[in-house]
């Protein structure tokens, strides 16, 4: 999780909204990629969960974009996707072929926790009151999202207490 070239002390509300939209866009795209990976590797349940997460991120992004249009219609965007690195998007190394739905949900939970940590870490550096209010709102939303994923996790039985690596054979000569 990182940002490149963004000074939080100078962040204004328009750019903060754009940043928040980009964060959601990045997460939406990542979940879409993950669902494709799972489809490709015959892991349909995890694929379906990642599609669900992608739709959620898309919805949040659209809400923020509507607010941005209302407040700053027509004003150019200054922050770009090139400045963001995995703020709310789960890490690429989080997936595995044949991962269980529970493992997929845990990926999403870690991503929501990461996003929460990002907004918490940013808050002390913010000077603009409007930006601060927005970041506090986004931080609190991440807690709601974590709770939603936890509810989903509670609906499914625990994974069997075995590690697929336990069944991996030692390399044999070809």
């Amino acid at each position: 999780m990182s940002l490149r070239g963004i000074d939080f002390t100078a962040l204004v509300l328009r750019d903060a909204l754009d940043l928040a939209i980009l964060v959601e866009e990045e997460a939406e795209e990542r979940y879409r990629e993950f669902s494709s990976q799972m489809d490709l590797h015959d892991t349909p349940d995890a694929a379906e969960f990642f599609r669900f997460m992608s739709r959620n991120e898309q919805k949040h992004g659209a809400e923020l974009a509507a607010r941005r249009r209302e407040l700053f219609a027509g004003e150019p965007r200054v922050v770009t996707r090139a400045q963001l690195f995995d703020v709310e998007a789960p890490d690429y190394d989080a997936t595995r072929a044949f991962m269980s739905p529970r493992a997929a949900m845990q990926v999403a939970l870690r991503a929501e926790e990461k996003a929460y940590a990002f907004f918490v870490a940013a808050l002390p550096h913010l000077r603009d009151a409007g930006v601060r209010a927005l970041f506090e709102e986004l931080r609190d939303e991440e807690v709601v999202h974590q709770d939603l994923v936890k509810i989903e996790l509670g609906k499914i039985p625990p994974d069997p207490d075995v590690d697929p690596e336990d069944f991996t054979d030692e390399p044999l000569a070809q």
């Binding site: 993950f34 200054v78 996707r81 090139a82 400045q83 690195f85 190394d93 030692e170 390399p171 044999l172």
Partner: protein, 308 residues
Amino acid sequence: MTTTTANTGHACAPGDYKSDLKPIWCPGCGDFGVLQCVYRALAAIGREAHEIAFVSGIGCSSRIPGYTTAYGFNSVHGRALPIAQGIKAANPDLLVLAAGGDGDGFSIGGGHLPHAVRRNMDITYIVMDNQIYGLTKGQLSPTSRHGRKTVTSPYGNLEEPVNPLMYVLAYGAPFVAQGTPADMPGLTAVIEEGIRYPGFAFVNVQSPCVTYGSEDQMIKAQKEILQPLSKMGHDAANRIAAMDLAQHYGKDLYTGVFYRNPVPPATYEALVRGLQASKQAGALPRERILDLFLQREPQDEEDGGSET
């Protein structure tokens, strides 16, 4: 950071370089992160996709050109560099990237690397070094560590690995860097800097194989041990200091620019252009070539040129 292209003036975004092909790498593969870093570095450079040629060899990582909107050539095993050089020679205005894995670059294509380095064309070579032949199901590669058990070394690797950083530094590469998808901002920065460097730029990427790699090679483990050279006070203009650090390849994970020649040597294509210009300045006009060939005095066009 908004960048614009020289030709059109419109801003480039990482998504502009993303093709419609969906990567078929194993979920969790390090190459996904490398691809993202390439998109971001290209957006920062701001050249449009049709101004970029991306060449690769064969292997998992060599699929990368297809996932971009640049002109791409998933070529022949080990031959990314000769083909990339040919493209650069034919059209020096193109931004040329070459990519592949450690087997492709240091074993099958190992003979091409020193000559690409000494020729010094303005090409950026990105090697996704996973220390294994993953596509063919996990055989030893030239960078597999000593003792590594694989299907071709069931009793452990008896050989010492190639050290790619030392290798290219020894051959005089003017820009040498290492990155990992465990540090995507850092990897993006070295790819971008490599592209901007006017000469042959080598970027070794420790990109773990999630299927055949060991736990200590995975991104999670890399995050614990990676050490950015920028925080170590390394002087990237000092080639000997770079070689000293490069000796730790396979033991410590240093990331960032190892060596950047502060006085970039002339590129091959610049030397060729200079040579062409000097030869053209002293060359006979085209209509005199026949006279020269026939070893005769210049002919007046009106006399019909019948004397031979």
